[in-house]
Symmetry: C2
Subunit: 110 residues, 2 copies
C-alpha cells in the first residue's frame, strides 16, 4: 500500500460507479476488485466504502437490493442509475482535466 488516501480522495465515488458500470455488484466484491486491479497498491477501506455507498444512494446515483443467496452471508447489491451514469461520465472528464492540470503544476520545467 503505497498510495495515500489524499491522492485518491475524491475518486472513491467514481471508482465505485466505474465498477457498477460493468454490472451490479456488492461491497465486499468491489473491495476485492479494487485490490486486485491495483495489485494491492490501493485499497478501499470498508468504512470509506460504506459511507460512499450511503452518499451515492442518498443522491440517487445508485440503488440497492438484497441478493437472494441461498447460503452464506447475505449481500447487498448495488445498481447504477441513469443519474449515476451521467455523473460517472462527468467525473471521467474532470479526471482527465485534473490530470493535465496537476501534471503542469507539479513539474519543474516549463
Amino acid at each position: 500500500m503505497s498510495i495515500t488516501a489524499d491522492l485518491i480522495r475524491g475518486h472513491t465515488e467514481t471508482i465505485i460507479l466505474a465498477q457498477l458500470m460493468r454490472g451490479d455488484t456488492y461491497g465486499y466484491e468491489i473491495n476485492k476488485t479494487v485490490r486486485r486491479i491495483s495489485d494491492s497498491r490501493y485499497e478501499l477501506k470498508e468504512a470509506t466504502l460504506y459511507s460512499a455507498f450511503r452518499r451515492l444512494e442518498d443522491t440517487g446515483q445508485i440503488e440497492s437490493y438484497w441478493g437472494g443467496e441461498a447460503t452464506g452471508a447475505r449481500r447487498r447489491y448495488y445498481r447504477i442509475t441513469p443519474l449515476g451514469r451521467q455523473t460517472y461520465a462527468q467525473q471521467i472528464e474532470l479526471w482527465e482535466e485534473a490530470k493535465s492540470i496537476i501534471d503542469k503544476l507539479i513539474e519543474t520545467e516549463a
Copy 2:
C-alpha cells in the same frame, strides 16, 4: 474554476514544493502562478495555501524569511530544504503511480 478541490486534494504541498524548486518565492506569487499555469481552472485558496506553508515549515521541508522590500507590502519568502526536495521527488513518483492506478480503477473496459 472547473476542478473541484477533492480531485486536487493531497497535491497542494507538492504544488508548492514544485514552485519552490524553481527558486524562492512567496505566497501571493505562488497563488498567481498556479492560476496562470492552470488557465484559471484551478486556484489555491489563501487559507489552504497558508496552512500548507505552516505544515511544510513545521516538518522542515521549507524555510521562510522576510524579503527586504523597500516599498510595498512585505513578503515572506520561502525556500525549499534538502528534505523538501527529497519529498518532492517522492511525491512525483507517487503521483505517477496514483495516476496509473486511478486510470485503471475508473475505466470501464478491461
